[in-house]
Symmetry: C2
Subunit: 148 residues, 2 copies
DNA sequence: AGGCAAATGCAAACGATTTGCAACTGGATC
DNA sequence: GATCCAGTTGCAAATCGTTTGCATTTGCCT
C-alpha cells in the first residue's frame, strides 16, 4: 500500500465515520487531495477532480471540503488576499511562509515559537484554540543579482 | 493638543501628502479612526462617521480606507471568517489575540517571537516582507466555573 | 468667480463561497 | 438482487464583503 493509498483511506474513513456517503465525486476528490503535495485552492481541486469525474460541480467540491475540514482531516488556510487553500493533515503541525512574488508556500515548524505563543496567551488568561502564523516573504537578494 | 487631535492630523497629513483632497466625508472618517481604540470593521466605521456626515456612503469609507492603508497610516486586518478590521498605526508593531467566543481583540508584542521569525526566514533564504500572527483564544476555565 | 480634476453616491459588478431545490443514487434492508 | 429513502448531486440563484462605472457634485488652485 502506497502513501497515497493510505492517505486516501484515511480521508475516506473520516467521512464514513461521519456517516457521509462515498460517492464517485467524493472518491475522486479524496484521491486528488491524497495525491496533492501542494496547497491547492478549491477551483484547482475541482479542475483536478474533473479528470476523473467529468461534470463534477464546484458546489460538490466545496461541500466535501467542508465535511472533511469538520472531521479535521484537512485544513483550510486563508492566506492574505487569495482564495482559501487546502491540505491534508497527515503531517504534523506547521506554519507557512508565502512567497509574495510567486505565491509559493513553504512549510516550517518551530517549537520555541509554539511555546512562546502558549505562554503569552496563558499570561493573559487565555488558552489557544488555534493560531495562524504566516510569513509573507521575498527571496533574499543575492549579491550581484538584479531583482528587477 | 490632545492625542486624538494629533492622530487626526497625522492621518490628514498622510492623505494631503498623497495628493488626496480632504473632503467633509474624509475629515469625518479620519476623526472616527483617530478616536477608535478598538478594531472596527468598515461598516462600523461607516456607522460612526454617519453621525457627523449623514448620508456618507460606504463606498467612500472603503475608498478612503484603501487610500490610508496605501499611505501606511492605518492597517487592515483580515481575521478568520470575519470582515476586515482597521486600526491606525500610531502605536508600535504588535500581533493579535482574537477571543473566539466574543470577537474581542487583544494586542500583544513579543520580541523573541519576532526574532525567531526573522531567523527562520533567513535560514531558508528569505526576507520577511510582513507577517501575520493571530492567536485564536478562549478565556481559561477558572476552577469551579462552568463554561457552558 | 471660474474651471477642472478629484471625489461623491448610487447601483451594479465582483469573486469566493453557500444555499434551495428538484432530480438522482448509494447502500442498508428485505 | 429489487426496493426504498435519506443523503447527494448539479444547477442557478443568493450571499457577503468589497470594488467599480458613471453621472453629478465639490474642493481648491488661479
Amino acid at each position: 500500500m502506497t502513501k497515497i493509498d493510505r492517505r486516501t483511506e484515511r480521508l475516506t474513513d473520516a467521512l464514513r465515520r461521519a456517516g457521509v456517503r462515498i460517492t464517485r465525486q467524493r472518491a475522486a476528490l479524496l484521491a486528488v487531495l491524497a495525491r496533492a503535495e501542494d496547497h491547492p485552492e478549491a477551483v484547482e481541486l475541482h479542475r483536478r477532480a474533473e479528470a476523473q469525474v467529468p461534470g463534477i460541480s464546484l458546489s460538490t467540491v466545496y461541500r466535501t471540503l467542508t465535511a472533511l475540514e469538520a472531521q479535521g482531516v484537512i485544513q483550510r488556510h486563508q492566506f492574505a488576499g487569495t482564495p482559501a487553500r487546502f491540505e491534508h493533515t497527515e503531517t504534523a503541525h506547521h506554519d507557512h511562509m508565502i512567497d509574495v512574488d510567486t505565491g509559493e508556500v513553504v512549510e516550517f515548524a518551530n517549537d520555541r515559537i509554539e511555546r512562546l505563543q502558549a505562554e503569552i496567551a496563558a499570561a493573559l488568561g487565555y488558552d489557544i484554540v488555534h493560531h495562524r502564523l504566516e510569513l509573507y516573504v521575498r527571496k533574499k537578494a543575492r549579491p550581484g543579482t538584479d531583482q528587477g
